[in-house]
Amino acid sequence: MYRIVERRMIVPNLHEFTVEAPQVTMAVRPGNFVILRADETGERVPLSVADWDPEAGTVTSVFLQVGGSTAKLARLKAGDSIPTYAGPLGKEAEISNFGTVLCIGGCYGIGSIYPVARALHEAGNTVYTLLEGRSRYLLYWQEKFRPISTRVIELTRDGSAGYKGHISRLPEILTLEKIKPDRIIVNGCTFLMMRTSGVTRELGVKTIVNMNPIMIDGTGMCGVCRLTVAGKTKFACVDGPDFDGHEVDWEEFLKRRETYNVEEVQPLRRSGCASHY
């Protein structure tokens, strides 16, 4: 059993979730994820690692409450335990000195891109962070990003913080902010990653996305997490989850994500976000 150190809602529907798992902190790298079960009858849920503390032996994730399993997680309190917490899984994010890197996070991806941004900063990159959300009250962790970013930029659909609008404004924002990125990394919902990849293709900037298909084992055993990248089938859990966003077959990916919609989402959709994918 793994003890919950903290679970608190940081913005509506998004929870910061810290678990005691020293065996994970010994090996975890930016870009890794874990798989957990909320209780003995629960399904296996993948969550990205958003931070960790090797001394305390704890691992933090940020999750969005969408369906049954994340609703169970949202009911957990400090001191409770969960039966499964396995990791770290997946390849680590590619970290080296690329020059200037723009890290884009939306939804739970604001959390999961934090260790990536931090490692890129430590590797000598000039790091810009762009936080995206529907409204100001859905953005978080700005204070964690400031020390490791040259600038933290905000983009909200209602204009309540930073730029107003969608990620389609990215080229314009880059011009206004005078940023010439050598690489862009996006974490968060599928639409954000897909749209970003769409606009950056024209800009000719390599764009890394952090894919989040349905998973079971997370070790390459079941194949449910497969997606097509550059015309080849890949297993996101072992070949990814980071891939080149310009090479992903997005249409197929979106369809595969809907496999269990009838069973899971329809009866349970709680998220205020119209399209958490």
């Binding site: 065996q23 994970v24 010994m26 090996a27 079960r37 009858t41 629960g42 399904e43 296996r44 049954g68 399993s69 039966p83 499964t84 917490y85 396995a86 990791g87 770290p88 899984l89 079971i216 084992d217 070790t219 390459g220 055993m221 079941c222 194949g223 449910v224 497969r226 997606l227 097509t228 089938t233 072992v238 197929e252 369809k255 595969r256 809907e258 496999t259 269990y260 069973e263 899971e264």
Partner: protein, 464 residues
């Protein structure tokens, strides 16, 4: 002494009726009763040079345990088996006996061989029911530590052999339940999970520690283990599913057998929504392949309520690699076998869901490397099959996680770890391997046989 009259036929196995069993996940084969077991045991000729023993990969003294049964000494019988096989309840159920012990039984020359597997199962179940599980003597602790990767039959066998010799043994398992394929792959109706759990508990009772949720290569590497352990055994199985590499394989409704069976077994999808893992209930299902995995997937599909389930296999019935008993069970249950048929394309609707499979008819040509006649396509024989789910059960190879993270470990073309056939020794010092991770997908008993040899070699090396 006049020769004993030969009783030509095996006692049939009592089973759930097909119409009943396709509506539940309970075990199909109910096991011999005391009377049936006694009658079947009486058929044995107690050969002086028993060929059956040679047919068993772990060399169980078959005539000896059968003799015990005839004397109603069941505890003596199970003891005989356990000298060689710690997983009797499992092997009695799933060994391909017709290829092993029963294949060479002398009775089989003219008549039906002794139902050795069924008798083995009877004794193992008798012991479990009696509640008095015999534990062999455990040697005094020798202070040496062994790490085992994977809790399938191979890992369990090495663990119990070494624990009995006084080693301090820890098994590391990636999933949240132990047992390997016995837990996540082979369905409840063929191998009840209670049987597997019993075996795992037995190994733990010998002092073996079990770490679940621990992915070797990720959580810790083999290199890190080498600093803490005197020996490492890799029994990680062959868990990476193959696909056919034909168009449309990523459509919704197309599953690997591992996904289909894992959802159902490990994650208890058949109990959805009590258990949270959902499972698609399809009405027309096609399963590609002809081995045990394909039979299990097809019969699972029936139990999940499919109207029609097809096994699509490119060769003919006599080439099916599955256990004969399971082929017969599948036939009785109404699985439709499309022999000499090759799927060439999966076709979906605009929402990305599988709707049809394009297939080709085959005919058997010249024998290939495996000695079986090679199927060749019949020109212009394309036809369409309407389905809403397809399960790919054409094979697995070892998962690359360990090989990728263990420098210097020799790996073959299909990702299998290279190990000495007699000792299980790999190219890395103090690292052994055995089971499916070395041979590719094989059988429970062959994994156990390899594991036993590795345990012996580990003991010899560490006692030097």
């Amino acid at each position: 002494m006049p020769a004993k009259p030969i009783d030509p036929k095996k006692r049939p196995m009592p089973k759930q009726e097909p119409f009943e069993r396709i509506r539940n996940f309970d075990e199909v084969a109910l096991g011999y009763t005391l009377d049936l077991a006694h009658e079947e045991a009486s058929r044995c000729l107690a050969c002086k040079k028993p060929r059956c023993v040679e047919g068993c990969p772990v060399g169980i003294d078959i005539p000896a345990f059968i003799q015990c049964m005839l004397e109603a000494d069941f505890s003596g019988g199970i003891k005989k088996i356990k000298e060689k096989n710690a997983l009797a309840a499992v092997c009695g159920r799933v060994c391909p006996q017709e290829e092993q012990c029963e294949k060479v039984c002398v009775l089989g020359n003219k008549h039906e061989p002794i139902a050795i597997g069924r008798l083995e199962r009877f004794l193992a179940d008798w012991e479990a029911a009696s509640g008095a599980i015999e534990k062999p003597d455990i040697g005094p602790p020798n202070g040496r530590r062994v790490a085992i990767v994977g809790s399938g039959p191979a890992g369990i066998t090495v663990a119990s052999d070494l624990a009995l010799l006084g080693y301090d043994v820890t098994i590391f398992e990636a999933l949240h339940e132990a047992g390997g394929v016995l837990t996540y792959g082979i369905p409840e109706f063929r191998l009840p999970k209670a049987v597997v759990r019993r075996e795992v508990e037995y190994v733990k009772s010998l002092g073996v520690k079990l770490h679940l949720d621990f992915i070797v290569g990720k959580t810790r590497t083999v290199d890190a283990f080498q600093k803490e352990y005197d020996a490492i055994f890799i029994g990680a199985g062959a868990g990476l599913p193959w696909f056919m590499e034909i168009p449309g394989e990523n459509l919704n409704g197309v599953f690997s057998a591992n996904e289909y069976l894992t959802r159902c077994n490990l994650m208890k999808g058949f109990l959805f929504p009590a258990y949270n893992t959902p499972l698609k209930r399809a009405s027309h299902v096609a399963v590609f392949g002809g081995g045990n995995v394909a039979m299990d997937a097809a019969r699972t599909a029936l139990r999940l309520g499919a109207d029609e389930v097809h096994i699509v296999y490119r060769r003919s019935r006599s080439e099916l690699p599955a256990r004969l008993e399971e082929v017969e069970n599948a036939e009785e249950e109404g699985v439709i076998f499309d022999y000499l048929t090759l799927p060439t394309k999966l076709i979906g609707n605009e929402r990305g869901w599988l709707t049809e499979i394009e297939c080709l008819r085959m005919e058997l040509g010249e024998p290939d490397e495996s000695g079986r006649r090679r199927p060749v396509p019949v020109k212009g024989s394309e036809f369409l099959m309407k389905v809403d789910a397809a399960v790919c059960a054409i094979g697995n190879s070892p998962n690359p996680l360990i090989a990728m993270t263990t420098p210097g470990l020799s790996v073959g073309k299909k990702g299998n770890v290279v190990a000495d056939e007699e000792t299980g020794q790999t190219s890395r010092e103090r690292v052994w391997a055995g089971g499916d991770v070395v041979t590719g997908a094989a059988t429970v008993i062959s994994a156990m046989g390899a594991a036993r040899k590795a345990a012996r070699s580990i003991h010899e090396t560490l006692s030097k």
